[in-house]
Symmetry: C2
Subunit: 394 residues, 2 copies
């Protein structure tokens, strides 16, 4: 892969927030030669492979069509560990079983390693209870519904498998080649990073909309634009300089080094992706004290890479739009480091969009604790013995 | 890449027509291990790279949008030689110049080798005239309009550059990841082939249609289905067994080994792709004598590989539909080996579709001679000195 070196970086405490980098070649060949240009980096296929071997790709799934899942699986490079965390219904049709069968058939054919687990497996909650990691439980002692919780379970499985990097890819992608590009972007970002504490976020070049007159290649998602605006405002408030650096606040496709992932606090629901940024700013921005001095010393890098492939995915409609605004801006509003003026603006924005009523504030979202100190071998032991939905192949 | 070994092969003289092979993994990793399954072949990235180094990718272009061309360029693996043959208008806006600028900017950034040439360059016709290769000329002594002629020029440039394989990719593809997959398919097919005389044709898994209610993933193109049916009928007539083996009659995305490419006679217009198959059957089917005994001895393989990526491309509308039917079926009709009964059926089909009138027969298409015996160094010399649109970079 050949891509921009970051042309612009916003420093915020120990964090380097890099501006969007473009991809020039999906496949820059074998020879690890230097790029023709000073402004580009060429990450050779061998180097990408070395990183992919240490990477798990987590696919949270909830009833997405199997045809789409099969396409996504075919796009993930062979040497990555695929982890599916499903919250699909098990009745009247056991969708989870279909997903598992599909994955196992694929793995049998191609000789690949994968893990699959159902989010609501009682054996999973047993294992989590045993190690005292219960911030992802709901009131009845099971893992909550939600993509964020699925991602968390995926990260624990990746840690259990000893992986150094964990990437997330949605199950509703129409284009296997785009999935392949996401993983190459993850690996290239990691190759370019200068610290073990790295996050690589994908920015879509286009999100085509289907209209009567054909495809229209629009640049931004509806929620993303607003989320990015408020994340940028938060950065600007502290630096004193306005910025547009943040472009991937709602990016579902992203990758985190395990060393960084296990230090973060996560937020539930639709705020999971933007809150990753907020929490990085909270933890490593130098505004409030942190326990993670090593990460502060080594520095944190956030990279944003724009894909070459357009993002053709299932159109979910506008039903969740209000909820997404509430979650995305709410997690900024409730941040310990959110300046009062920004809080006022968020309230205004949400009222203007009829997301909240007069006098209301955004919902306070449930938080999920860092998993750095969990006893992963104990978790693994109980999971293997009690989680009936858990399957390993390859 | 990991894909099916051919499960079904139709033998026709010296030709092996393999049934459609599916792709399981876009990237099967580095280690050249055997596949988990007997029915699959795993082509390692190193092996693919060794073939890509010897491959030219020809992009015929005629006014397609630059954004799409740029995407296509980014999807071609770095180690392939890119060849653009343009027939874009040079007035009122010099579209060719824009394409050339775009290509040169891309090459400068990524350090890649490419050739670009305008189909109507008088220096090109000079060079062709000098070596006596004039079957692609129109009456005024210039290269004819048409994609087939663009492809021919591309093949000559590939031969000039000493490439062993030449692949074709259309310029109107929305998905760079799909372009990347086509090239991996070309290379994998060549890796699996047992003869130096090979053709690899791409079959699309889906051609999504844009409708009011969203995307509909239809399986076949309108013309392809009919073309394939008649190509299969022709094979069946000789073998005595009905077959559905041929599925890629109109495939624009395909690759030919130079050793095979230079032996073939080509047809103009929309019949170029199906006539490649017809001409292979004519030349190597053992029905009529051939001069190419070496190829007969080594055998000819035609592979058809189904993509994982759906084919999102510019919808050109129905304007050319009749012309496409006329050309695709016409080149079968006029073949020296077309049985009289099949001719009758083609006439019926074309009348039923109002493509031809009572008493008419399909248009006789112009043929382009094999280029095995041209003096390529002489061609190169004149081209370099006189073709003002010709540019080489990298």
């Amino acid at each position: 892969m050949q891509l921009d070196v970051p042309r612009y970086t916003e420093r915020f405490g120990a964090i380097s927030l890099h501006g969007v980098q473009r991809v020039y070649e999906l496949d820059s060949g074998f020879i690890d030669a230097n790029s023709a240009s000073e402004a580009l980096r060429r990450i050779g296929n061998e180097q990408i492979f070395q990183i992919e071997r240490k990477m798990a790709i987590v696919i949270p799934i909830k009833g997405e069509r199997l045809k789409l899942l099969e396409g996504v699986l075919s796009g993930i490079p062979h040497d990555c560990l695929t982890i599916i965390v499903s919250n699909s219904p098990r009745q009247p049709v056991d969708r989870y079983k279909l997903e598992k069968d599909s994955l196992e058939q694929f793995n049998r054919f191609v000789g690949k390693s994968s893990l699959i687990l159902h989010q609501k497996d009682p054996g999973l909650s047993d294992a989590l209870r045993e190690i005292g990691y219960m911030s992802i439980f709901d009131s009845d002692g099971m893992v909550r519904n939600g993509k964020a919780e699925g991602m968390m379970v995926g990260m624990l499985l990746a840690k259990m498998a000893g992986k150094e990097y964990v990437g997330f890819i949605d199950a509703d992608n129409y284009v296997p080649g785009a999935v392949n590009e996401y993983v190459k972007i993850f690996a290239s970002g990691i190759a370019m990073s200068n610290t073990p504490y790295t996050m690589v976020r994908v920015s879509w070049i286009y999100k085509p909309k289907v209209s009567e007159s054909g495809l229209y290649f629009s640049k931004w998602g509806r929620v993303s634009e607003i989320t990015n605006q408020y994340l940028n405002s938060m950065v600007s408030y502290y630096t004193g300089f306005e910025t547009e650096v943040m472009r991937t606040g709602n990016s579902g496709e992203h990758c985190i080094s395990m060393k960084l992932a296990e230090l973060l606090t996560y937020s539930s629901g639709f705020s999971v992706e933007p809150y990753e940024i907020v929490n990085v700013l909270e933890e490593f921005g130098g505004i409030i004290p942190t326990e993670n001095q090593e990460a502060m010393d080594k520095g944190i890098e956030i990279m944003q890479v724009e894909t070459r492939n357009p993002h053709f995915h299932e159109e979910k409609g506008d039903v969740h739009l209000k909820e997404m605004f509430n979650g995305s801006l709410g997690c900024i509003y409730h941040s310990k480091i959110c300046p009062p003026k920004l809080r006022e603006k968020i309230i205004e924005e949400l009222r203007g969009k009829n997301v909240i009523d007069e006098g209301q504030i955004p919902d306070l979202l449930q938080k999920i604790s860092p998993f750095k100190n969990i006893e992963i071998s104990q978790f693994s032991k109980i999971l293997h013995s009690r989680a009936t939905s858990f399957a390993y192949s390859g």
